[in-house]
């Protein structure tokens, strides 16, 4: 059974950080989309998706990320992502998500020069 997700928002200078805990799936993904819409409405231009090390994302969740990525392009936002395992980094590359968002090995490296 999948765990629900918890998303909190924090700021680091002009970077809006979505702290994601839990499983991002076809069921829970809407919460991620809602959180993204909320910070976009507040004018976020630089967004970091920070996944907790216990977090998990499946193909249903990836569909929501694709949607977020596509919207961010239209809104001229820049999205970075960190916290997911190497396996998911390869999957993101495979499904073409890396064309829309850059993946980083750590929060520090993601924030560096953002």
């Amino acid at each position: 059974m999948n765990r629900d997700i918890e998303i909190s928002v924090s700021k680091n200078n002009d970077v809006s950080i979505l702290n994601i805990k839990g499983d991002v799936t076809a069921v829970t993904g809407e919460k991620l989309e809602d959180a993204y819409e909320k910070i976009s409405a507040e004018g976020a231009k630089k967004i970091l998706l920070l996944f907790d090390k216990e977090s998990y994302i499946n193909s249903g969740g990836i569909a929501f990320l694709i949607s977020v990525a596509s919207e961010s392009k239209k809104r001229e936002q820049s999205i970075r992502l960190t916290g997911l395992s190497e396996h998911f980094q390869k999957i993101f590359h495979m499904v073409g998500l890396t064309k829309y968002m850059s993946l980083f090995p750590s929060e520090e490296s993601a924030l560096d020069g953002f």
Binding site: A26, S59, G60, I62, I66, H87, M94, V95, Y100
Partner: protein
Amino acid sequence: MKINEIVKQQTADITKETHLKSSEHSQMELERRMFHLKTLYDLSQEIGVLKKTEEIMKNLLMMIIGTFGTLRGIVVLVDLGKGSIEEIFQRGMGKNSFGILVKAIESGHFKELEEITCIHVLDEKNDIQQNKKKDLADLLNSCKIKIWIPFKVNEKLRGGIGLGDKLSGDPYTMDDQELLCTLSVQGAVAIENSRLVEQMKKEEIVRTNLSRYLSPHTVEQVIKRDIELKLGGDRKVVTILFSDIRNFTKITETSRPDQLIQILNEYFTAMATTIFEYRGSLDKYIGDALVAVFGSLIPLENSAQNAVQTAIRMMKYMPQLNERWMNRYGFHMDIGIGINTGEVFLGNIGSPERMEFAVIGDPVNVAARFSGLARPGQILVTRETLTYLGTETKYSELPRTQIKGKSGKFELFEIHYL
């Protein structure tokens, strides 16, 4: 370094690089397969617990979109019998593309779409070329759909999944086609299962509801649609049977409450069985009285005939019950029955899941009054009922009688059954 040594070194480097690339490729392929397997597992776990078709389709499409990495996708379920869209869910299709596809499906193109195994619009060796389905390819292309897979839920319900370009820019492969087929089959099974569970629940509610009015056999016939129940308000000529216990007050005074409940249960069960046997429906119990209606829920050729036969059988049943009660409790019980035929308002109000059956009108009141007039063991019918009875019915005419709340005197007929 001599030339041949340089060549040797370069050849070794190339081989090493080739091995490295091959290893990376294998690793990537392994990751891809793991991801696909996990998707299949997650899909079965997630949609297996969902109850609504709409939710299953939404989850199915989202997982497919994420698996193939595409911006646009659509899943549609079509009722072949009605030729209409049963459910549809899309993501990123855009208003125009969505509109074109919906219009095409509704105008009969779906039949063609579901006959093919798979369409790869961009693949040169695609099914379309082989099957000469260029018009379908054009249709899907105009909606920016690059792959289309039909699936079958059951004989009536067919579905289709369409996806747009991959974000990676890669074309859809045969592997993708196979995976998409497998995912769609999983979705179809989940949809069918949820529908069956839903249908079973619905049938159970209908069964419980109708069991209050109809025999178990008739209820099953209604559920299997061998008998069509007419719902909604209607004016119809029916026959109403009103039966009531004559010496009930005395029985209540002399019996213990648990005995009384036992007696009433035995009595009502026996009477209801008889009513159902003659295809009547049990309208209601009013204290010690019961009201049965013939020709309402189930159409009958001669509702009056059925009602009178029921009344005779009820009367003939009483000695059996009385013998039992006499041995057990030391008393007996008599009933009087009044029957009338006339136009009433029939209201099977609500849905089959929650139906309240109502028979309203003056003929019901007259039947109740006739039942009140009947002496113990007597079956009284009105002129309106007698008119429908065959010549084999034995009866005698009683003196015209005044009925409470009615002007004029009523013709009264007693049915002989002994």
